[in-house]
């Protein structure tokens, strides 16, 4: 959701390279229909790990040419004839307006959390945290998280949340998550594709191999789309030992523009020299004392 900085782009290219190397070396095993995921002590499939989408669908889920340092992407919409979102006529106009205004109108520019399914497609990893009876997605981007409560607990209808309200159940080895209460404050990508507060997402997560997971999200929004449609994206596990989600904060700066704080860049993070700040405060303090 964020215009990547040079560092982020480099990190992304490196991660693409490592994926490619892993693929060539055969570490990424091909999908096998009979793949049985490992299990937790209560028998539920074990989805734990750090996962990330490959590709650039986050820029435009309807596909886009290679541009602005991004590789080209095919549409990830799988069940419309042209791979396009089946907007209602009014909504299509809004989408076109969104596209023109995307530099400032993208909710990501306000540092809003990404929403669903956008959070899953982002070029930053997320971690699945799981134990018997508990399931959570923890995203790098904007330190968002989603708790997947069991279906038996009804949705918290009446309040909207950036990341929605998630309820899940298992269909065989597939996790099915029903997401509502998403509000109308999030987009689907960086290209202005959007939804209303009527959006209802049904996500399906299925491990195809030790290191791959198939993600599908069916989106229904009668105020925006003529009929429901589905996106599909492969997710890849980060197999590096000791891999971790790192802290990410998106904050609006005093110039009114968003910026992400990188925990690897102490200078940018501190914004200014901390020691100098203390010295300035001491000086101001002395000046205040001298006045009295």
């Amino acid at each position: 959701m964020n215009k990547p900085t040079a560092t982020m782009r480099l990190a992304w290219r490196l991660s693409l390279l490592s994926f490619a190397l892993a693929y060539i070396s055969g570490a990424a095993t091909p999908a096998h229909p009979d793949y049985a995921p490992p299990r937790l002590s209560d028998g539920t499939p074990d989805f734990r790990g750090i996962w990330q989408a490959r590709g650039t669908a986050y820029a435009n889920i309807e596909g886009h040419p290679a541009e602005n340092g991004l590789s080209a992407s095919k549409s990830v919409v799988i069940d419309t004839p042209d791979g396009k979102i089946p907007y209602l006529p009014e909504a299509r106009k809004q989408r076109e307006q969104n596209f023109r205004d995307r530099a400032t109108a993208d909710p990501g520019a306000n540092c809003f959390q990404a929403g669903v399914p956008r959070a899953v497609l982002l070029p930053t990893p997320f971690q699945i945290v799981q134990s018997p009876g508990n399931f959570a997605f923890v995203y790098t981007d904007n330190h968002s998280y989603r708790l997947v409560e069991p279906d038996a607990l009804p949705h918290d209808d009446g309040i909207d949340f950036f990341m929605g309200d998630s309820r899940g159940h298992w269909e065989g080895d597939t996790l099915v998550v029903d997401v509502t209460d998403l509000g109308d404050q999030t987009w689907l990508d960086e290209a202005g594709n959007f939804h209303s507060d009527q959006l209802h997402v049904v996500e399906r997560y299925r491990r195809l191999s030790a290191d791959t997971m198939l993600y599908e999200a069916r989106m229904e929004d009668p105020k925006t789309y003529a009929h429901p449609f589905t996106i599909r994206q492969m997710l890849y596990r980060d197999t590096r030992p000791g891999a971790r989600i790192t802290e990410d904060e998106c904050l609006e700066g005093s110039d009114g523009r968003w910026h992400h704080l990188s925990p690897y860049d102490q200078k940018a993070l501190l914004g200014h020299d901390y020691k100098a700040e203390l010295a300035a405060e001491s000086k101001a303090l002395a000046a205040a004392a001298a006045k009295q």
Binding site: R48, N110, C111, Q113, Q127, V129, L147, F161, G256, A284
Partner: protein, 281 residues
């Protein structure tokens, strides 16, 4: 529960914004060399009868939804918007020069509280003040203890694989590595970015902060929490914050909370209409 949490969210939203204003009004009545506020004292945790629940790996089961038990009432008595670090040994043992900086921040610079700008609180503040009102959820397996906070959707994923802190990494919440000492979960936290405040009173730490947290179960649904904070460039000696944590009924849930400045510059924040520009969900 849901309604309570919404009200609580509104309460915190209100007091976050009110804090700098009330602190500013104090600055007019309070002499420059103000006496440090007295804190909310927290009694040591009583041992509660009953079996401590455990996971298959034998460790105490910390999972569920937790509050610290300082509670809304105690905070209200202390003065909402003027919360003085419950469970901490006030005044903090500053060096003379760092105490001056604290005083300056409290009297003249309260709106630089990072929480007022929607930063995550840091450790141990995240267990201390927001968790009196907003709960946090723990998910635990044999590799990680994960703490998901309602407050500003802060998350700490704490590995217990004996790995070391990273190098060249500076974060608001630092970097947490955990291990078990008997039935106590001990977390070593370093790699702070040096910008966190400890409360709304300008108490602060720098990038040399180092925290050791101890989560000790004292009963089926209670934890005695201690955080020992050392920062050799800010404090003359380490000090320990103590809180008691209480597990909520299983049916209770996190209600997502978000914080956005919605600001264009810091000056708006100090004007009354600045509040209208802010947005809390």
């Amino acid at each position: 529960m849901k309604n309570t949490l919404i009200v609580a969210a509104a309460l915190v939203a209100c007091c976050n914004w009110a804090a700098p204003l009330s602190a500013q009004s104090q600055s007019q009545s309070r002499p420059a060399a103000s006496t440090p506020p007295t804190g909310i004292t927290v009694p040591s945790a009583p041992e509660v009868a009953g079996e401590i629940p455990r996971l298959p790996d034998g460790h105490p089961n910390l999972q569920g939804l937790w509050h610290n038990d300082v509670g809304v009432e105690a905070l209200r008595k202390a003065g909402l918007g003027d919360i003085h670090s419950p469970g901490t040994p006030l005044p903090f043992p500053y060096f003379p020069e760092t105490d001056k900086i604290r005083e300056y921040r409290e009297l003249h610079d309260p709106y630089h509280d990072p929480e007022a700008h929607c930063h995550v609180p840091g450790v141990p503040r995240v267990i201390e003040q927001p968790s009196s009102i907003m709960p946090f959820r723990i998910i635990q397996d044999e590799k990680y203890v994960t703490i998901l906070f309602e407050y500003v959707h802060d998350v700490r994923i704490i590995p217990e694989d004996g790995s070391a802190h990273p190098k060249h990494y500076w974060a608001w919440d630092g970097d947490s590595r955990g291990h078990w000492e008997g039935d106590t979960f001990v977390v070593d936290v370093a790699n702070f970015n040096g910008r966190s405040w400890l409360d709304m009173d300008g108490n602060f730490v720098d990038e040399n902060e180092h925290v050791v947290e101890r989560f000790k179960m004292t009963g089926p649904n209670s934890i005695a929490y201690d955080a020992t904070v050392e920062d050799p460039t800010v404090f003359t000696r380490p000090w320990t914050m103590h809180l008691n944590l209480r597990r909520n009924p299983a049916k209770d849930q996190i209600v997502y909370y978000d914080c956005h400045e919605g600001e264009r510059d810091v000056e708006h924040y100090t004007r009354s209409e600045g509040n209208a520009a802010s947005k809390h969900e």
